[in-house]
Symmetry: C2
Subunit: 171 residues, 2 copies
């Protein structure tokens, strides 16, 4: 799969098979997260890998929309040091999810609405917080079921030259 196709076709999905994720794939996913740049190379992200069924269930109870989390064989929590920027966590998450999708592994960023709950399950020390939880899994044979939510058309997202400038003549 070429890079652009991989990026373009990646969807956040919540239906998973329990097929194990090969250790080599997991290592590439984590390495992709590691190689994401960060503000002033501060490298504020840490990755907590959860594969234990009981712990996945506990983690799922920390989010409002996290019921799918225990069905994924591997769950990676992206943890930020106290003053870490969510933008950098987003970069690391996207790198991990794109690297996974290149190997046919789907994922879905999942918020932990009860931050203290998630910190307790992951055993985080003071000064760290959970930015996001990423379940990784192979999709069912029918393909990754996406709700297929529409995207805003590109021309409505993009402003050329400035917000209030009229569209260019060639558009």
């Amino acid at each position: 799969m070429d890079v652009y196709t991989c990026i373009r076709t990646k969807r956040d999905t919540r239906f998973y098979m329990d097929t194990p994720i090969p250790e080599e794939s997991l290592r590439r996913i984590l390495q992709a997260g590691r190689m994401a740049g960060s503000s002033k190379n501060s490298q504020p992200c840490r990755f907590v890998v959860i594969e234990d069924a009981a712990k996945k269930n506990e983690l799922a109870a920390c989010g409002h929309y996290a019921q799918h989390v225990p069905y994924a064989p591997v769950v990676v929590a992206i943890v930020l040091s106290g003053n870490g920027w969510d933008f950098d966590a987003g970069r690391a998450a996207q790198n991990m999810m794109i690297a996974a999708w290149a190997e046919g592994i789907t994922s879905c960023p999942t918020s932990m609405h009860d931050a203290d709950c998630a910190r307790r399950v992951l055993g985080l020390p003071d000064g760290y917080r959970v930015a996001i939880v990423l379940p990784f899994a192979y999709p069912p044979p029918s393909g990754p079921k996406s709700r297929g939510l529409a995207r805003i058309p590109l021309d409505d997202l993009v402003y050329r030259g400035g917000w209030s400038d009229p569209p260019r003549a060639d558009e």
Copy 2:
């Protein structure tokens, strides 16, 4: 370039050639940003494309470390609606930068420390703010000059099973 290599080799660099970015490449970059998922599909990101030399100079004056911005032929500001999450801007930014790098185009997330300055230059309406500015350019023939800042070793970033669990026996 395969996906993993693209992700793994992407560096944030600040030395640019003035070779124009083909319109088709820019369209794929913007489309990659558009296809990044977002929290509850809220799609909070908008993209302001700046190619005018005077505007690029004005934008460069809004950040502490933005002197490189005017040297890039195309600059994309990622704008968030008021309650938009920086995590989602990070996802969109990473998609755009990875799609660009697949075509040999380098980039560097650049903060606008004077947010009002950036809002004014981009002509943003109330309720929008600049999350980040991304210059896109071809690197010099010597390759993308990276300061080559070291990454923390993977084993020091990753916690298996929980923060305080000992490493697994097979590690």
